[in-house]
Symmetry: D2
């Protein structure tokens, strides 16, 4: 399973979370990665943890101010990027452009979406993976795998119908190892997490609990 921890703009110490993740990653078959803010990418990558960007813009080198260039986040140490997170929705044409920009910079891509129809839509753009996160469950502490298992299975089926190469992650409300196992049983190949780890008093203990049953 792929466990991707989104640090958002939480008041957490991203390097501390990264060090915890790097340590836990060595103890498990799961693959653990951290997505900090752009300005923290280099410091997080220096810990040796697998580092992801939270977003890249559908742009190339050139006259763009205040945007996130795929090549620059790759240079800072990122190996993948979220695209179209529910807190950063993009136009369809720009998701396409961001996936292409990320591929140009050799970044792995996870495109987020709300429901199985949008998951199919996202999968059609050829990312490495899609992530289904029902907006009504985000931040609730109720895992999607429990609150609405059908949506995960439907998302897995929807993505496969469009492109069998595209794997599916699930997010929203995941906070325990049981949730991660349940997500895997529904066909997800990974999970998106945020507050459960990044805002935990002890991020390392939180991650250890998460990967323990894997």
């Amino acid at each position: 399973m792929f466990v991707l921890v989104n640090c958002k703009t939480y008041p957490c110490d991203a390097v501390e979370v990264a060090e915890a993740a790097a340590a836990v990653d060595e103890t498990t078959d799961a693959r653990v990665a951290i997505a900090p803010q752009a300005a923290q990418l280099a410091a997080v990558a220096d810990t040796g943890v697998e580092t992801w960007a939270q977003h890249v813009d559908p742009i190339d080198y050139g006259s763009n101010t205040g945007h996130t260039l795929a090549e620059t986040v790759a240079d800072a140490g990122a190996v993948g990027t979220l695209i179209n997170h529910s807190e950063h929705r993009l136009k369809l044409a720009d998701i396409d452009g961001s996936v292409q920009a990320a591929e140009r910079a050799d970044l792995e891509t996870v495109v987020c979406a709300n429901n199985p129809a949008q998951i199919a839509s996202a999968a059609a753009l050829g990312p490495d993976a899609v992530a289904v996160e029902p907006p009504e469950l985000i931040g609730t502490g109720t895992p999607v795998s429990q609150a609405d298992p059908d949506i995960v299975e439907d998302a897995v089926a929807a993505a496969a119908a469009v492109d069998e190469e595209v794997s599916v992650l699930c997010g929203a409300g995941i906070s325990t190892g049981e949730d991660v196992v349940a997500a895997g049983e529904l066909g997800a190949e990974g999970v998106l997490l945020a507050s459960g780890v990044a805002k935990a008093d002890d991020p390392k203990a939180a991650l250890e609990d998460l990967v323990a049953p894997l």
Copy 2:
């Protein structure tokens, strides 16, 4: 073939274009429709022509100011709507919401997109049709069916691979009956037009030329 004339915000007399379209529609097997601005929908529908909206928002009845509600454009006489036109790009989640809003109001839907990958993506959201319009050809007078026939065939194949029920229109640079025939031969079931008719000195003659070979 479906011939949909987008009047944009051109300085044309939308009612005159509508009357021309209504007259020509009676003389041909082609299906001719007009998409005026929202404030002109009722006057255009009064001519008897098939009337389309240029856009609907992903909203329901409620607290929305300056937005376009599907039910209101239907009440004004529209029977269909464009969504995600290249001059009005939407977020993926909002294309999904607009398609659902339109269906709720019994409006037929055409979702526009730039290229075959985005066409597949749009088709996955379940509209009645998708329209491929390469941005670099819009307004050039060079028809996509001639400048880039592969893109039309690829769009037809991409949509069919996702959902065989979704038909494909093509746009960008269409201005003659020959272009419409060529589009049909490439698998398109209709065309999107704008300046070729709406800005013609004689919209009726322009439409007659367009449908003559059909």
Copy 3:
């Protein structure tokens, strides 16, 4: 006092509200106007009531799809327009462009904003009026003139400091004649209303109550 009723996308009969407003307008010194959706402008204007648009885009005649052109809403009977309503926030450069577009089409302009600093900012763009609507009070039924009288006085002072020609309306929570009087005493030359009239069981009675103390 100017009493401007925003019908939003409420499930109300905009023509019925307009007829009520036209009737009440004849009985009072207050100036009563109605802002329906774009597709309803012509039908509302036909009632003889003063008719406003809810929004115009920062565009001119040309290649724009699904946008609201100032000239077209004026042709449909509008004499003014809201700009930058809290449900339709615009970029600063686009507020400037929308004010200019509206002036080009001889539409009166009211630019909305959240707080005194933004009111000064809006006033600097030269509209006819600005409207202060604290977002936290919208739809609460608690009038801004009562919940936060300072914000209205500060908005009046902020606008005057930038341009004495720009008048100030206030909105958010206004529903009684008393609220309108209180707004006037704080320096506002008008009020923005929505649900209190547009969603009333008897819009005419609601408007009569509103203007009774004026």
Copy 4:
């Protein structure tokens, strides 16, 4: 004079530009600063040069993905930020929010705008400075101080009329020391530069030429 070099997403070596700027800054009364991409802030700040962000979002700590938090760019070493650059236009309410976010994090603020009316509007939000950049001159190599000196003088007057504490920078087409001197004579207290330095074969020589006449 304040000389702020915006590195945009140019294919330049931001650290090399920063080292050049740090060296030149020591030789001149002018104040030289560099604005790299967010992911490069820490590396640029490590050179000792005054470091600026290209943008901050109108957000606080919390659930925001792919956004730029003022506190995080400050932690990475930035001491100021551009806001509302012409390549990153914001809603009026969001410019207000970004200025407040920047102030909360002790970042100096420069709000960009197109013309004197928008400059007054930006000044009303209380930033430290505003920057006038006529979009039609950006990237032309023709300095605004030469192509349209009135716009600089009008911007200086417009800002002063709203708030005398707000200083004015000018941008667009600045590339020589003469342009900087001319900007100062028109009342500007600084200049925004980009390609003239960041894309120069020898950024240090380019900066030395720029500050030589100061």
